[in-house]
Symmetry: C2
Subunit: 215 residues, 2 copies
Amino acid sequence: MNSTRTAVADKTNSRGKSEATRERILFAAANVLSRKGYSATRLSEIAEAADLRAPAVYYYFASRHDLISEVMMVGQTRLREHVMSILDALPTETEPMDRICAAAAAHLEVELELSDFATAVTRNTGQLPDDIRARLRHDSQLYSRLWREMVESAYDAGQVRADLDRRAAIKLIMGALNWTPEWWDHSQGSIAELIATTQSLIRHGLGPVPKGQLP
Amino acid sequence: MNSTRTAVADKTNSRGKSEATRERILFAAANVLSRKGYSATRLSEIAEAADLRAPAVYYYFASRHDLISEVMMVGQTRLREHVMSILDALPTETEPMDRICAAAAAHLEVELELSDFATAVTRNTGQLPDDIRARLRHDSQLYSRLWREMVESAYDAGQVRADLDRRAAIKLIMGALNWTPEWWDHSQGSIAELIATTQSLIRHGLGPVPKGQLP
């Protein structure tokens, strides 16, 4: 193996390892923040949960504030990015209501896979410094806009009942999805089953009453 | 006025005032717990928010632990009691799905009226001492049972689709209801409008697809 390739490989490995450690710190921090809350979260406890010594955490994050800010953003941004990537991969002719159901499934996948990040945000919303809240709010608004556009398209296509306040309906659906990490775990069946029930509730909850069929 | 009646009146007034002060402390504590979190909640701050001096709080609650325990229970028990009283007042011939919709309305009323109590619980779930969590869990199980019975009755009456996992559907609905204090406020319309949208989502979300009507 020539030395250039070895150096590149080393660098890639080292970057990969560094990325993995950074990710481990984030997951540990999300878990501690969920359990202890913002005020009581200590960097030393995060380091211990990540199997590191406290000073090593500063190699990856400049401060406690930066680490917590990043934890709060990860749940939010990965959620939006995953949902958008699933929607982007759908055939262009996909019906608006089917797009909504695909987005709900993608939302649940992230919510339950990154449940510590989700609960770290919801349980600490009231306690966060203003700058972190502002970042969260901005990203959350982008995500809400995505849902509004999907539901308006479905409404325009006659797939949403006219009696619904669509803005409130979206928030109620978001609530149902966002609350899942508080009660769901693998002992209750597969994520696929939960997704199927959620999609059925949304499709019938929003959808028009079918026209009577001729006998 | 004879002296006995005066003494009784004084005692009644004093009890009323005492009850009001106790209630004011509970509301102040709920607000501080929502904003600061369990670990950072100080009795002195609660006292200040209730317009009292810290020692006065101990006249009503034996300890910080007892006060916080009571805050956590208030949201939960008043929710269940209000929903049960609304259900008890319905005519016996009320259809199961109408009972579910009445319960959802009652749930939202308490959730939004006592929103600080609701968010105090959700935002501090991970941080509470085990004994408080056990009390909360017990009451929460009683409430879940009430919903399960309502939904099973509706299912038996043919008012809930067979394709739904009813247990998961109830949890999703609870999530939608419990999340409302995180986004709803009076600037977004009346509680009555929110209730109407919620009931419509539940009724169609759970309900069977209507049979085709003869022309």
